[in-house]
């Protein structure tokens, strides 16, 4: 049922791309207007949902705590269906994910060896329901992953053994390599050969059934292929531990997602939205686009809001100033009550939810779901 009026999604972070994909599936025409890259490459690619309880312990069963996001008024079944939506879209985009068989959080180690709960985890990333002994291999110059510390924390956290192997980098490596340099090299034929040879030489028979964990540097385009080749060659699974931003997991997802949308006729306009009304958006370069608008401009991080020294906050898309208590912890939910019936707001916390501390994918999904479900009748507005 193609419609003449397109949907204009402002922002291309996870919320924007998810909203665009769901609309596309329903046969709508979609235009994404965004300045910048979107925040996906700051993510490892694993999607968390209500990761921590108030005492900072990982929580395994996410739905029991959904009341903390009560502004979304979605029940357990709706949530689960939403996750399945997201999972399906990632699959279409070309990213396979793992979920726990009982629909609880999986546990996945961070680069500092601490286990954190994640709901939806791309296949390349290591995640389990029950911790097991592991072998971790890293290479010189991958600054963020300190094997000694990682193993110490992993053992403390899981009571499981972790064997560590530190290797020198390949020929041509320089001290200024970022994960993107590694990825470019490992995506190439020579890089793949080097990696397989080096891992084979590094591993011995200890824990020979256990998975081999490596830092998240295994290419961008050929990751899954490389990892499955390694599994065959080494006889044990090889999985990644996500690193700090720039995260290759997010880069892989962002690139494939954008390609998928482009291939399905979505247009990306590189511009900044400086005004919104019932008919569409005004652009910084002077043009305008008409259509129904969804603001997925993210929070302060995504550029949706600009804080000023006098404590006023400007919604960059509408140009309007909005209220902020001045308390840093309230930043995650500014602007939600700003939602006007003329446009939707997705990807923002539904009030009092500290996404940075407790996990942010939950409110991305919650708000997108709520809005997509309600889109024909009424536009989602959480804080009212």
């Amino acid at each position: 049922m193609p419609m003449t009026e397109p949907w204009i999604i402002v922002g291309k972070g996870p919320a924007g791309l998810l909203a665009a994909s769901l609309l596309l599936e329903q046969g709508h025409r979609v235009v994404v207007v965004a300045k910048g890259q979107g925040s996906l490459p700051l993510w490892s690619g694993a999607l968390d949902f209500y990761s921590w309880d108030t005492k900072q312990h990982p929580v395994k069963a996410p739905y029991d705590h959904a009341d903390h996001l009560s502004g979304l008024s979605l029940n357990r079944e709706q949530w689960q269906a939403g996750w399945e939506d997201w999972r399906r879209i990632l699959q279409k985009v070309g990213v396979q994910t793992q979920v726990s068989p009982d629909h609880e959080n999986l546990l996945s180690p961070t680069l500092s060896g601490v286990l954190v709960p994640r709901y939806l985890v791309p296949e390349w990333q290591y995640a389990v329901t029950d911790p097991e002994p592991v072998t971790v291999v890293s290479w010189d110059g991958i600054l963020d992953l300190d094997l000694h510390l990682w193993a110490e924390r992993y053992q403390q956290h899981t009571k499981m053994a972790a064997k560590t192997i530190q290797r020198p980098g390949p020929q041509g490596w320089t001290a200024r390599w970022t994960p993107l340099h590694w990825a470019g090299y490992l995506d190439s034929e020579s890089g793949r050969r080097w990696l397989a040879d080096d891992l084979e030489a590094a591993l011995d028979d200890t824990f020979d059934q256990c998975p081999v964990l490596v830092p998240q540097i295994i290419g961008i385009r050929h990751t899954e292929e490389i990892l499955s080749d390694l599994r065959v060659r080494l006889g044990r699974p090889v999985k990644e531990i996500p690193l700090i931003a720039p995260c290759l997991g997010g880069v892989r997802i962002a690139e494939r997602w954008k390609e998928y949308l482009l291939g399905h006729g979505v247009r990306f306009v590189a511009d900044e939205v400086v005004g919104v009304d019932g008919f569409g958006v005004q652009l910084a370069t002077g043009g305008a686009l008409s259509g129904r608008v969804v603001l997925a401009t993210g929070g302060v991080l995504g550029g949706g809001f600009r804080l000023q020294w006098d404590r006023t906050v400007i919604n960059t898309a509408t140009g309007q100033s909005i209220a902020w208590s001045g308390k840093p912890e309230d930043l995650s939910c500014i602007g939600v009550s700003d939602a006007n019936s003329l446009w939707g707001v997705v990807g923002r916390s539904a009030g009092g939810w500290d996404g940075d501390r407790h996990g942010g994918a939950g409110h991305v999904l919650g708000t997108v779901l709520a809005w997509v479900n309600a889109m024909h009748e009424e536009v989602y507005c959480a804080a009212r």
Binding site: G36, T174, L180, H181, G184, I220, A254, L262, F268, T285
Partner: protein, 396 residues
Amino acid sequence: MLHDDACLKCSLCITACPVVRVDPLFAGPKAYGPEWWRAHEARDAFDTDPHVDDCTFCQLCEAACPADVPVAHLIAQHKDHHRKKRPQLKRFRDFILSHPHWIGRLPFSPRKVSAVVAKMAQMSSHADFPVADRTKFHSGRPYGENIPTVGLFVDCFNRSYGGEVVAAAERVISRLGYQAVLMPSQPHCCGAAAYASGLVDEAQRIAQDSAHALRETPVETLLTLNATCDGTLRDEWPKYFSLSLPGTRVLPWTDWVLETATADFWSQFEETNEAVWVHTTCRGKVAQGEGAMEEFVKLANGQPLPLGIACCGAAGSYAFKVEHEDAAIQLGIKAKEAVHRQGHQAEAMIVDSGTCALHLAQYTGLFTMHPALWLGRRLMQAQSLDKKAEVSNLCE
């Protein structure tokens, strides 16, 4: 530059950079742009890095920045400061390549540069060079008084090597009920080539001349046939050169056609579903985004196949320089891989830059062209079909 100090260190610029993925010695946009700049500002004689020249100036880093840091333009400053450390021969070569409007006037245009010449001129003996296209593109028709007029910016490349493209663009414009004034009347460069090589002052001079020439014929709308010139004229001139074309709206020819053409226009194209690869150049992505050419192909009843690469490695004169051979080849191979990955579904590709088309043709083996040429050809097909239909109607 207001936001040159706003870097968040988030590294999104590095994720957008095509060069870091193929060049192990290129430290990346964050290091060469904002980090270098901050150190340079604090200590005047801060060291430059020779590998800053490996940057293609695709500007994807700058477009990716969430804090509006002019990353690419800081890198251009870095290149400019590094200029004096380059060998004499390369400096001379860069100066010549910074004036593409001179090169177009050369009486020769070989497809390849011989090894001897390559070495002498520090040029790549691997890259394909453009061959002159003497197609006469000006219709020669006098401008009509009552016909709405648009300016058509004839860039250095198309002026010398893309006559057919300009002619096709003109033909479509007139089919849409407008007439095109070709601008500027004499060859002028927008300054992009010099800026990309880090000749910042020279770029300013070249752009100034060009702006002067363009202001001679005031138009309300100026259409561009190359994404780099498009971004330079519209976005970089006011921001970095303090130049403007008052009262003139600059936009890509493709976008103007999308805006102007009615359903009637599009309905003349037969539903052949002819597949065609689409590559929006890096500079096109920065200036306009992506998906416009795909929409364009779809409306003309073709089937667009987005290529899905960031920068092809041509980057103006980048691939012509001997020191960039390796990076340009690696990036070209990525384009080939992209075609291969998606199954070799079409023989032709449309791309909004002449040098990129040349480079992509070399690496993918596809027939590459500007969307104007593609549409122009479909238009001719449609017209001949129309004629056939007329003829058959008459026969009946």
